[in-house]
Amino acid sequence: MSIYLDKNSKVIVQGITGREGAFHTQRMLAYGTQIVGGVTPGKGGTTIETGQPVFDTVKDAVDATGATHSILFVPPFAGADALWEAYDAGITLAVCITEGIPAHDMLRVVATTSGMRIIGGNCPGVISPGKSLVGIMPGHIFKEGNVGMISRSGTLTYEIVDGLTRAGFGQSTCVGIGGDPIIGTTFVDCLRAFANDPETTALVVAGEIGGSDEEDAAAFIQAHIPDKPVVAFIGGRSAPKGKRLGHAGAIISGNTGTPESKVKAFADAGVPVADRPSDIPRLLAERLKPIPA
């Protein structure tokens, strides 16, 4: 099993003929994802080189293909519109790669699309290794297995997953929840899903300084996931106070969102925090013993 997507998930690509959309569509197809079509207004009726049909609207695409999942490669100003279009057409899970959608657009989208799970924006997507990749992750670094992984960052996820895979820890599903200020799916949302997934036997949570998602995650783990080993990582622990680094979340101000606060929250929940990504497999192995093959 896995969360959010499996090998039967039918996926469409919003922005399938754009530069990034076209590139990643091919990569996802190569990984085995069931890309059943895509949307580019004005190109309805055509097909892409690998044969998948292009539609003018998401509704047309869903009506014709029965897709339930969508991945969005659209410019930031069109992000909210594309998410609403997906929602209106009946999409149940939308992966929003787009970075920099205005926070107020996302506030309104999140408030008005109940029933549709949004991953991101500004995220690398979701992968259930060996089953389906709906995202921009480099598929070859992942390996099918039982570790659930959640991360705010894209490239840091790859760094950590690469280490896990090399150490023999396959993954059930990896979710990059995204770094924008308002995102559709939080650590806690993912943890709730992983808690109910019997094939996920251990978890890695890769957080960052800033915000309070990590603290919320720690509290949830303590309350609801007593039986699965969890290892955490906090990026940006060496950052100076008051500096805004990349992700809007990654700013430390006042007493919230400091590395100390996050490390303490995880420690209180019995979750070890790795100093470096490369330490994660060792900590996981310690928690899991005997070490899997």
Partner: protein, 388 residues
């Protein structure tokens, strides 16, 4: 984008929030002229981004034109310093405002609660002081309301908050409309924060925004090009300006305290790289995130931006390709190093993920051997920075 007080009040007036009478100027002569025309008691407020300008001596009171001019000359050009801002900030302009007779001071703000994914309104009857102090000592003195963004603001929210926060009765009539206007500003201009502290009740019964703190979401600024332009008129963060100049986002580049230049793709990996350098015993000179899908040209410009910092004596480029393609990064590095006016520093490159193999071939062809892991790269960079 943080706005200065006078800019925030410009927006306040657009949505109908009352502000004190007054004038904004960069010239002490103007102050004299204005006070000659408008006799009375006036406040001269230094327009700076930093907090604590009152304690730093940036606010003065004048009762006549001559005094006003003298104080204005004193303030303009002065460098205000505070604990948070030890370097200080130069006063380039003043807001001259009527000195109102204060009956009461309240606090009101709207910001985004990221965890709840909702706008949150905060109201307190303790205005005019540090709200974080109030929040810490008497959290119950700050009343909060989370707005459902699909419904939006309706006046009952203001009424409920005014009663709950026990604002003096004089506020009650005007408060729901002022809060509504503040919410309109918050939504229409895409603000991360709008704050009035204090919202003054005057002895003659007016309710006036005495201060204005507005921070807009950079990602929404394209909807307000005329306001985006204000940015260039304000003393913006130099790092932000540098990042924007080469086509990055405002927060993709920040100078830090060390000597090792850092370029990574993705903020998370950037922070991780920074942490790894610290773990290896060094200190990053900067944080530079080239974002996703960077082309060779951006990589080249990023190299040159980082090396323009004279403190940088080694560089670590750490790329884990997803949307970013290793070949583009490699090409950018090779092009940067081939430039005429390039400042070459000892360089460590780590390249993996999407199109990494092609990237490594390009680097190989240029005689460059990348390292395998982040830890290894950090260790090598620290050694190079220490001249080893």
């Amino acid at each position: 984008m943080k706005l200065m007080e006078y800019q925030g009040k410009d927006l306040f007036r657009r949505v109908g929030i009352p502000t004190p009478n007054g004038v904004y100027t960069t010239d002490a002569g103007d102050v004299k002229a204005y006070l000659t025309e408008h006799p009375g008691s006036w406040v001269l407020k230094s327009q700076v981004m930093m907090g604590g300008r009152g304690k730093a001596g940036g606010i003065k009171f004048a009762d006549d034109a001559q005094q006003g001019e003298t104080l204005a000359r004193e303030l303009l050009g002065k460098v205000l310093k505070s604990v948070q801002n030890p370097d200080g900030e130069e006063v380039k302009s003043l807001l001259v405002e009527e000195k109102v007779d204060i009956a009461s001071e309240a606090y009101v703000s709207i910001t985004i609660d990221r965890a709840a994914k909702k706008p949150v309104v905060m109201v307190s009857r303790f205005g005019g002081m540090d709200v974080e102090e109030v929040a810490e000592k008497n959290p119950d003195d700050i009343k909060k309301y989370w707005v459902d963004a699909s419904i939006g603001y309706s006046p009952y929210i203001g009424r409920r908050l005014a009663f709950a926060a026990e604002l003096p009765a004089g506020y009650r009539k005007g408060f729901p409309a002022i809060l509504g206007a503040l919410y309109t500003l918050f939504m229409d201009y895409g603000a991360n924060l709008v704050e009035i502290n204090p919202l003054v009740l005057t002895k003659d019964g007016r309710v006036i925004a005495s201060d204005a703190k507005v921070e807009l979401d950079d990602n929404g600024l394209y909807k307000h090009p005329e306001i985006a332009q204000w940015n260039s008129e304000s003393p913006a963060d130099e790092d932000q300006a540098a990042a924007v100049a080469i086509g990055l986002g405002m927060s993709n580049y920040a100078k830090l305290g060390g000597t090792i230049g850092v370029i990574a793709n993705g903020a998370g990996l950037g922070m991780g790289t920074m942490d790894a350098i610290r773990s290896a015993g060094g200190e990053a000179a900067n944080f530079l995130d080239i974002g996703g899908g960077a082309q060779a040209d951006l990589v080249k410009k990023s190299y040159n931006l980082v090396t323009s910092d004279p403190r940088v004596n080694a560089m670590f480029i750490n790329i884990f390709g997803g949307i970013t393609r290793g070949d583009q990064v490699a090409r950018g590095i090779v092009e940067a190093l081939a430039g005429d006016d390039v400042r070459k520093v000892p360089l460590v490159v780590r390249l993996t993920g999407t199109n990494a193999e092609e990237g490594r071939r390009i680097l190989d062809a240029a005689g460059f051997v990348p390292v395998e892991t982040m830890d290894e790269g950090a260790a090598r960079a620290v050694a190079l920075a220490n001249g080893r």
